[in-house]
């Protein structure tokens, strides 16, 4: 059944939601200092009527573009990108209008209306990108454009509460980034190597498959907080009785239990994907490779591994995303990382500190997703370049 409406129904719904939240929710807020709760500002008072009406108009045009015109999607894409680009600028404009530079403690908060608009614009972008065949180069251009606008507007955004929280902790932030990446990298790297070996062993000894996957998925079932907690007592005991471990700074809390738990969680997706990838290379292909006179080593390195690579990378992608999230929880047992800010912020009821922890975690996860998805595509058999 074809849609009877002359416009894209999905975009229409998203735009209506965006308009409702823009006009119904606070766009931003002004806080005299860190303690006092902010006073919310509606779209009109936050940005003034010219900006507010252009915003509304663009959304309406985006929804009303008739699907019949061949370039409709292209126009809609341009409008959505434009709307995304104006987001940081609108915050800068808001600060210009409402934050008095003479008050050094005044800060600007981001309102619910802004976040909902960002979310809905993201959905519109996903919707349009699915229906349009966009060259990979253009996607990159769009992302670079967004990045550039954010970087350009940073100097104006200094009074933003999020930025103020960052500025008082820029060193801790860098430290958190380092330890977050180190834990994720360590866990993914270790589980990649050991998962590969384990998958090869399982390929050779079918009898061990059931029990091995049983144990690994049992571990996966145990909630992260519980596993971190269960590791504390034995590690404290070991550390108390071993000077070597004490020298390595292995204690009941800190990086050691975090890394151990992360590796334990990482093994299942890694082993499963690697095993399936190696196992499912079709016997015919291997047969013909041998028939061409390849040695077993050549068959493995030149046929089996390349064919298995996309699924192995998919395993690395799942593992990395999972590890990024779990490392955030590991902050509870003193392992550092961005989770530290989240739990500090929760303790002080400082919402912007929570954001300072949560946003980088989400960005890291999305970046890892994009990177490994692209890598998996790159190595798909038959696709070159």
């Amino acid at each position: 059944m074809k849609s009877t409406l002359p416009v894209n129904r999905v975009l229409l719904v998203l735009v209506l939601l965006a308009l409702a939240s823009l006009w119904g929710l606070d766009y931003a807020s002004v806080q005299p200092n860190r303690i006092v709760p902010g006073a919310g500002q509606s779209l009109m008072s936050a940005l003034g009527w010219p900006w507010a009406s252009v915003l509304t108009l663009l959304l309406v045009i985006c929804a009303c573009t008739p699907v019949r015109s061949s370039r409709a999607l292209l126009y809609q894409l341009m409008i959505v990108v434009l709307l995304i680009l104006q987001l940081p600028l609108s915050l800068g404009w808001f600060i210009e209008r409402h934050i008095d530079p003479a008050l050094p403690y005044a800060r600007a908060g981001i309102g619910a209306g802004f976040w909902v608009l960002l979310f809905l614009l993201g959905l519109m972008l996903i919707e349009i990108k699915q229906r349009i065949r966009l060259h990979a180069g253009w996607s990159l251009v769009i992302w670079l454009l967004i990045l550039a606008v954010i970087l350009i507007s940073v100097p104006w955004l200094e009074p933003l509460a999020l930025m103020r929280e960052y500025q008082t902790r820029s060193q801790q932030f860098a430290q958190a980034l380092r330890s977050h990446l180190a834990l994720v990298g360590g866990a993914v790297g270790f589980s990649l190597v050991s998962g590969f070996i384990l998958a090869l062993l399982l390929n050779r000894y079918p009898a061990a498959r059931k029990s091995c996957f049983g144990v690994l998925s049992f571990i996966q079932t145990i909630p992260s907080l519980a596993l971190f907690g269960l590791l504390i007592a034995p590690l404290s005991y070991l550390s108390a009785n071993s000077p070597l471990l004490q020298q390595l700074n292995v204690r009941g809390i800190g990086w050691a239990p975090a890394l151990l738990a992360l590796i334990a969680y990482s093994l299942l997706p890694m082993v499963r994907n690697t095993f399936i990838a190696l196992h499912e290379v079709s016997a015919d292909v291997l047969e013909s490779a041998r028939g061409m006179g390849m040695s077993p080593r050549q068959v493995f390195m030149q046929v089996r591994l390349p064919l298995a690579l996309p699924i192995i990378i998919e395993g690395v992608r799942i593992t990395t995303i999972q590890a990024i999230g779990l490392t955030a929880v590991a902050a509870l047992i003193g392992a550092g990382g961005f989770g530290t800010f989240i739990f500090q912020g929760l303790g002080q009821a400082a919402m912007d500190l929570i954001l300072l922890g949560a946003l980088p975690i989400i960005v890291l996860a999305l970046l890892a997703d994009a990177f490994f998805s692209a890598a998996a595509d790159r190595f798909k058999p038959g696709v070159k370049g």
Partner: protein, 253 residues
């Protein structure tokens, strides 16, 4: 009824874990000597702000209510976008269900605090939102996986579209849907435990309190209970899935 009986009959593992969980919830405080040995220098070695049983029940009800809401919304949404009138929304919904899973559950939990403040409500919100994704995704996969000739045949014998949905599509997709619910509940049990950092009273409380006060005994008590709860629920789902695949086999034969 026969389903329940079959679960009881074959379900040794779930019963075993359930018994262990209940005896831990009711009897952990009797192991004071053991915890005294683990945490020698502290007077209070048994978490006593709430009883373990009430924490367990609270944890279960938060996860249970969130799961019910996610199932209703998730399965409903997936059915809606796979009908002819909702098909326009299918690409967006299925993309969001997979992209959304990139967001770490902790981040979703933390971000619901600015929206709803502290307590059980933001926890529930995060659980519902995050729990939706695997359910939507699996329901879509399950519905899409049904052979179109089966649907054709069902319509051919004069079934209405509601009958096709309820008597053919959902039963055939049930196993995949159940797997989605299982994933969703597993994640939510873990996330609800972390929910005690945002003020929900769950089995995470002893762990967090123990971490804050440096009391390993508290941490251990909470961790054991959370672990047992997760394993018990998971083994129940496994049984449930097994009995559904048995039923499905019979249905097809």
């Amino acid at each position: 009824m026969s389903l329940v009986r079959r679960i009881m009959h074959q379900g040794f593992m779930p019963l075993f874990w359930l018994a262990l969980l209940l005896s831990a919830a009711l009897g952990l405080h009797q192991l004071e000597t053991l915890f005294q040995w683990i945490q020698p220098d502290t007077r209070a070695v048994i978490y006593s702000r709430d009883s373990f049983l009430s924490l367990l029940l609270n944890h279960l009800s938060i996860v249970g209510i969130a799961a019910l809401v996610s199932i209703v919304i998730g399965v409903g949404a997936a059915i809606a976008v796979s009908r002819p009138w909702g098909r326009d929304f299918l690409p967006l919904v299925s993309q969001v269900a997979s992209i959304g899973q990139t967001f770490p559950p902790v981040a979703v939990l933390a971000l619901s605090v600015p929206l709803f403040g502290f307590g059980a409500v933001p926890t529930m919100f995060a659980l519902i939102l995050y729990g939706l994704l695997p359910i939507v995704r699996n329901t879509l996969v399950g519905l899409r996986g049904i052979d179109s000739s089966v649907l054709e045949a069902a319509r051919g014998v004069g079934m209405s579209s509601v009958q096709v949905l309820l008597q053919v599509e959902l039963p055939l997709a049930m196993n995949v849907i159940l797997a989605g619910i299982r994933t969703s509940v597993t994640i939510n049990i873990a996330t609800a435990a972390i929910g005690s950092t945002i003020g929900a009273s769950t089995l995470g409380d002893p762990v967090i309190s123990g971490l804050v006060n440096g009391n390993t005994a508290y941490v251990l008590q909470g961790a054991i209970l959370i672990g047992l709860l997760a394993v018990t629920v998971d083994s129940l789902f496994e049984r449930l899935q097994n009995s559904f695949s048995v039923m499905e086999d019979r249905l097809i034969k």
